[in-house]
């Protein structure tokens, strides 16, 4: 191991990993450049826009302002880990069906943020979704379609649950 590096064990998109990283490096940098997970987007770089949102043990964090060593012993979910093979997650499907994107640069952050919300609140109302999203910015589409998509996905997920 190189001097100054730390060794950590973590899970990234459900894959166990052993990483050696410098403690000053950002989560965004390690996910994008070392692990090739380019669905994590860099935008404002100051934890305002939410484009780099990933889930750390299920909680949304801004990868641009989180140190990579914080992954130690924890589980990271990026947009790449959301779909199962060809089967899209209902949130991804709803974003497509409701045209809740244009360029899509903010979309991974929005979807992961919404994923975390639906884990806490399976059927959130519009006000809750709006409030939850104040850490995410979209510059093309606006928010109406995004909120619509989250409501749609929530309904379809809770029906799935009900059917089980």
């Amino acid at each position: 191991m190189n001097e100054g590096q730390v060794k950590i064990f973590c899970r990234v998109n459900d894959v166990p990993m052993e990483l050696e990283i410098s403690p000053h490096r950002l989560l965004l940098d390690v996910l994008r450049h070392d692990l090739g997970l380019t669905g994590v987007k860099e935008a404002c770089g100051v934890q305002v826009c939410g484009a780099c949102t990933v889930l750390l043990d299920g909680d949304p964090v801004s990868a641009c302002c989180t140190l990579a060593v914080e992954m130690k012993g924890r589980s990271v979910l990026t947009i790449e880990g959301l779909s199962e093979g060809e089967q899209l997650h209902p949130l991804q499907q709803a974003f497509m069906d409701k045209a809740a994107l244009q360029c899509g640069y903010c979309t991974p952050g929005f979807i992961l943020s919404a994923y975390a919300l639906l884990k806490k609140d399976a059927l959130p109302d519009q006000a809750t979704i709006r409030h939850w999203f104040h850490g995410n910015i979209c510059r093309c589409t606006g928010y109406a379609a995004i909120i619509d998509a989250v409501e749609t996905a929530a309904k379809s997920l809770s029906q799935e649950e009900g059917g089980k």
Partner: protein, 876 residues
């Protein structure tokens, strides 16, 4: 808010269908490759040293310490420019790759490093020693035109792209890069003779586009072959300028326009491509420049404007004359600024019938970042001015604003300007319709009001697009067209148009991204032109292929071609149907042979005042009903309707998304306001402090709205909420006081001179520690401070500044209880909590909505957040 989309879908047709875009899947799974995801093997990373001064002479650059750093491959300075012509710009070639001898705006590139990784490049930049001699700087058009202002440019060469539409001599007056004027009738006489004349002045600041993806470019230079992968709206313009800079044939320069995460005009024309190629040339290896958002904001802005309008009307409300005077803030280099000024000025009288008209416009150089187009080529700036003015006239006449507009709006077929396309929409009828959606004319509740606006703009002309259409032997097709993808969905629209003409499924059409080595010439992806102009080229090419296909089928079927139809992937005759692959196979001796055609569409340069007649007008309308809080002046939007005449919507789903995207607002800070209101004591005065960006301003307003909601229920009268605009509005590095941005000055007295009407005394200014920090800063120049560590700051620095500012409020003069509500980025609040209170990050979106800071008389800051509380003794 809502919107109606006029759909004219044909049965069994692709055009007009609300289709889910083919690229959505890759965009929701993270697989989509944006410009910022692109890289090549062996690539170096770059970092740029930027001028800390708004205007300065560069005396020397010493890069020897930077070169000693392991991992640094090269440092580029202007000394490397021998043998090339290092200037670029679509209007004038006035912008150097790196500042040569003189930096003209804060943030201008002065030197650049290519290194094995980004961290090394950034470290090397800090070791470059540059000696500057600061020069006087000007940050607004009026100051720049004054006689004692510095000359920002002394010599300007014409560029290529706008050379046929911006034809005047550069620099007609001091610091004026462009002037444009127009006269019809005798405006002065008609103004003097009018029953009523109304004058208004309207100012719009420079802003940044903020596409979510910052600017990214990768370049390689292999002997005399240049390849550039760039998130650009204009690959062909970039190619042309790179060829001129490096003295290479255009055939040796290959620009591949990578899909962008939004652009909005910020990524048109060369930006960092010349620097990337120059670095790759010196390094002998490919180089990537990946800007941060802060650097992107220092690269391009929307043109600011100061607009003065005088209008003469008769008693019946008919406009007789108008004079418009416009000064545009262009920044340090022209970029598209002159064309923005020209197109904006052209529509500045509004879509009204005006017999006597005079327009004078100037685009002025200032020591601010270069400014270009942003969603409308200046039309938003001028619409805001003339529609405010329209309401002012109606009010002075005592006339209903809708009636006044209806009397004067142009009608379909009428000429706006001689030589242009007749008006192709129905301004007044659509305005009446949007007005009806806000119940125009019906009695209004107390403190409610309604407003209307109508806007329009011309597209690009003269204009040209070409497309290569290929129909493959299996009946699928590939389009090569130069329209860049910035998320607007044009690639899908092109596929729909081709599928419609070729009678095949939209799913079997591939649209190739622009690559100047392969795609045919396209002017630009700007000015809302692509769906219409490139769409016509694709349609034209596809029709040629359909004709070729039908000719072949006619021979095969022994039936005249005009009795054949191509639909659903097959050619249908009166008696026979044969699939497209069968027709192709049976009419060729070569298996796999395909059909190809070049589609073309252009409009000529004409006699219109801005170069050519617009191929189509882009009109839009809006109506709103709002409620004003009589105690606070706060405005709440109750209803908001917009309408666009998009012509035939190729994909209605995308048209809606584009329209709503430009109107969606905010609803996030109410909750915070409600929480704050619970803490207020009777008789308190609440001040709002916030940054001048629109987002923060809106947040401040909404926080206040939430507070008021609670206060109404409590029906307490003593609490006084001051409007953010009435209050002190502060931001580093600009200072806003009383809602006005003030220039950096050297004394409280000089600052006070700019504050007439705010009620602030010089002694007030002395007492607030925040202000003296600025006028006592050694490194202050122009109106900005030099940052020791540009552009980012650590969370700790932000937190310390935040707390120091909070503490400075302890010195405020006050009578009775005061409370200050500081609206800032959640990141700043988090930094304070992380560093001083919780020692752990709050994370998003569970971020802290509000933190109480209590400042004691001895300057200590107490912090309370939820259950945590702490008192800090900070540095004095």
């Amino acid at each position: 808010m809502s919107l109606e989309t006029k759909t004219q879908a044909h049965p069994e047709s692709w055009v007009g269908k609300a289709l889910s875009r083919g690229d959505f899947r890759d965009r929701v799974t993270g697989e989509f490759r944006f410009a910022s995801d692109f890289g090549v093997d062996g690539m170096l990373e770059a970092s740029i040293l930027r001028s800390p001064f708004a205007h300065a002479e560069i005396l020397s650059i010493n890069a020897s310490e930077a070169m000693k750093l392991p991992g640094v491959v090269c440092v580029l300075t202007p000394e490397d420019f021998s043998g090339i012509d290092p200037y670029f710009g679509p209007t004038y070639r006035d912008q150097p790759i790196l500042a040569i001898g003189r930096a003209r705006f804060e943030g201008e590139p002065v030197a650049a490093v290519a290194a094995v990784d980004k961290a090394t490049a950034q470290e090397a930049v800090k070791r470059i020693d540059v000696k500057y001699r600061p020069l006087p700087a000007v940050d607004n058009p009026l100051a720049a035109r004054s006689l004692d202002a510095p000359d920002i440019h002394t010599e300007i060469r014409r560029g290529y792209h706008y050379s046929r539409v911006v034809e005047n001599e550069p620099l007609p007056e001091k610091n004026v890069g462009y002037s444009w004027s127009y006269q019809r009738g005798d405006a002065d006489r008609a103004l003097a003779e009018a029953d009523l004349s109304v004058t208004g002045e309207y100012v719009v600041p420079i802003i940044h586009h903020y596409p979510l993806e910052p600017i990214h470019v990768v370049a390689r230079f292999d002997r005399d072959d240049v390849t550039v992968w760039s998130g650009t709206q204009t690959p062909f313009q970039v190619r042309q300028e790179l060829a001129a800079i490096f003295g290479l044939p255009q055939s040796r320069i290959r620009v591949l326009a990578q899909p962008m995460g939004g652009a909005f005009g910020a990524k048109a024309f060369p930006k960092l491509e010349p620097l990337a190629v120059a670095l790759a040339r010196k390094a002998g290896r490919p180089v990537r420049i990946a800007l941060s958002m802060e650097e992107t904001a220092r690269t391009i802005r929307r043109t600011g404007a100061r607009i003065r309008i005088m209008t003469g009307v008769n008693r019946d409300g008919i406009i007789l004359a108008r004079r418009v005077e416009l000064d545009f803030q262009m920044g340090a280099y022209a970029d598209a600024g002159p064309r923005v000024a020209q197109k904006a000025s052209y529509v500045s009288p509004g879509p009204y019938r005006i017999p006597n008209l005079a327009i004078t416009a100037r685009a002025v150089y200032t020591n601010t970042p270069p400014s270009g187009a942003y969603r409308g080529f200046g039309a938003p700036q001028t619409t805001w001015a003339y529609e405010l003015h329209t309401d002012e006239i109606a009010a002075r006449l005592g006339m209903d604003p809708l009636d006044f507009r209806k009397k004067n709006l142009l009608v379909r077929g009428e000429m706006y300007f001689e030589g242009d396309t007749p008006i192709d929409t129905d301004f007044a009828p659509v305005l009446e319709k949007v007005a009806s959606h806000v119940n125009w004319g019906e009695p209004l509740g107390p403190w409610r009001g309604r407003g209307l606006s109508v806007s329009f703009k011309p597209s690009q002309s003269p204009t040209e697009s070409t497309a290569l259409v290929r129909l493959h032997s299996d009946g699928s097709a590939t389009l090569l067209c130069g329209t860049a993808d910035m998320g607007q969905g044009t690639t899908d629209a092109m596929a729909q148009i081709a599928a419609e003409e070729l009678g095949i499924s939209v799913k079997s059409v591939r649209v190739q991204i622009p690559d100047t080595a392969q795609t045919l010439f396209d002017q630009t992806t700007t000015s809302s032109r692509s769906t219409v102009i490139m769409g016509r080229a694709v349609q034209n090419g596809s029709r040629q292929i359909r004709e070729q296909l039908l000719e072949r089928a006619a021979r095969l079927f022994k039936t005249p071609a005009d009795q054949l139809k191509v639909k659903n992937g097959a050619v249908h005759g009166p008696d026979t149907t044969l699939s497209i692959p069968e027709v192709l196979a049976r009419t060729s001796d070569i298996p796999g042979s395909e059909l190809a055609a070049i589609g073309h569409f252009s409009t000529p340069k004409g006699n219109s005042s801005i170069g050519g007649a617009t191929p189509f007008w882009e009109p839009c309308w809006a109506a709103a009903e709002v409620e004003v809080n009589p105690n606070t002046g706060l405005v709440k939007i109750l209803r908001f309707w917009t309408a666009v005449d998009a012509g035939r919507a190729v994909n209605p789903q995308q048209v809606e998304a584009q329209d709503i995207g430009s109107a969606e607002g905010m609803d996030v800070a109410h909750h915070t306001g409600r929480q704050l209101a619970q803490k207020l004591d009777d008789g308190e005065v609440v001040h709002f402090l916030y940054a001048p960006t629109r987002r923060t301003r809106q947040t401040a307003h909404t926080v206040r709205e939430g507070m008021e909601e609670v206060l109404r229920q409590r029906s307490e009268t003593g609490i006084q909420l001051l409007l953010p605009e009435e209050n002190w509005v502060i931001r580093n590095p600009d200072i806003y006081v009383g809602g006005k941005r003030v220039e950096m000055v050297s004394s409280p007295d000089a600052l006070h001179e700019q504050l007439t009407g705010t009620g602030l005394a010089v002694s007030d200014l002395r007492r607030v520690a925040f202000f003296p920090q600025f006028w006592s800063a050694d490194d202050r120049i122009g109106y900005r401070l030099s940052h020791a560590v540009p552009p980012g700051e650590s969370g700790d620095i932000v937190a310390r500044r935040f707390l120091a500012f909070a503490r400075s409020l302890a010195d405020l003069p006050r009578e009775g209880p005061h409370r200050f509500v500081c609206v800032t980025h959640s990141g700043c609040i988090r930094a304070v909590l992380l560093n001083y209170v919780l020692k752990r990050d709050m994370r998003e979106p569970e971020f802290c909505e509000s933190v109480d800071l209590c400042i004691s008389d001895n300057g200590q800051v107490g912090i309370t957040y939820q259950a945590y509380s702490k008192t800090l003794v900070l540095y004095r």
